[in-house]
């Protein structure tokens, strides 16, 4: 890990409770503003790589937009597995049902990993990140 902090965005670009994605040296990062305190996390979900900046931030908890896995933005810890899908009572045509069964079997082996976090500091109105 580098000791150098890089300017990422102006602090006033994110309202409290908001998020914004940036790319720094090839790293996709989401910066979160939790009541004036800034956190930086990897942009990709630890489950299936969905962009977390399109999810929901509530306090220090971020919910992935794809399968609703949740993470703690202060330490990147994965807090829950994805919420299971509801396919409803409708019986699917055999070809689609078989496909979904196969996907379901594969999904059981997909784990949700914790995500990377980055140190941040606020200086001269800029949110800076240590990569």
């Amino acid at each position: 890990m580098s000791e150098k902090f890089s300017k990422a965005i102006l602090a006033n670009e994110i309202a409290p409770g908001g998020m914004k994605s940036v790319e720094l040296d090839g790293n996709e990062i989401v910066i979160c503003n939790n009541g004036g305190k800034y956190y930086a996390i990897q942009r990709r979900c630890g489950h299936m790589n969905a962009p977390l900046d399109m999810g929901t931030l509530d306090g220090i908890y971020l919910t992935c937009p794809m399968h609703c896995a949740q993470f703690d933005i202060t330490n990147g810890e994965a807090l829950s597995c994805p919420v299971p899908a509801d396919l409803g009572p409708e019986v699917l045509p055999p070809i689609i049902g078989g496909y979904m069964q196969n996907i379901g079997m594969l999904m059981k082996h997909v784990h949700t990993e914790s995500i990377r976090t980055y140190a941040t500091k606020l200086e001269a109105g800029w949110v800076q990140i240590r990569l």
Partner: protein, 116 residues
């Protein structure tokens, strides 16, 4: 995620945060019995690890999605009438805001309230 990878304490803390925001406008709060609250939240984390959803720990799952979704914690909106009568939810994780001692609350069978 496999069940063993979930940190139970971290998940309990986040469920406490989210549930609190849901039940507060409904006139409920967490039980003042902290030992009971911790025990029930832990059971919900275990159920969530198994099923992907934090179901009520004191109700059986029936493999009927419509009925099972009515016991996803906090299930207060689905059983409001009964919970308002007994001033708590079935498992006791939540009580009415004015309740100080949940042990003194009367028991009242659901059938005496309505036919939910």
């Amino acid at each position: 995620m496999s069940e063993s990878k979930i940190n139970i304490e971290s998940r309990k803390k986040s469920l406490h945060y989210f549930f609190g925001k849901v039940v507060e406008p409904l006139g409920f709060k967490f039980t003042p019995d902290e030992e009971m609250m911790n025990f029930l939240l832990e059971q919900e984390v275990i159920l969530e690890g198994k099923h992907g959803i934090p179901f009520c720990p004191c109700q059986p799952l029936r493999n009927d999605r419509i009925r099972d979704m009515k016991i996803v914690c906090p299930c207060i909106p689905f059983h409001r009438k009964h919970f308002d009568e007994i001033k708590r939810c079935w498992c006791g994780l939540f009580v009415h805001k004015d309740v100080l001692d949940p042990d003194k609350l009367p028991q009242l069978p659901q059938k005496e309230v309505n036919n939910e």
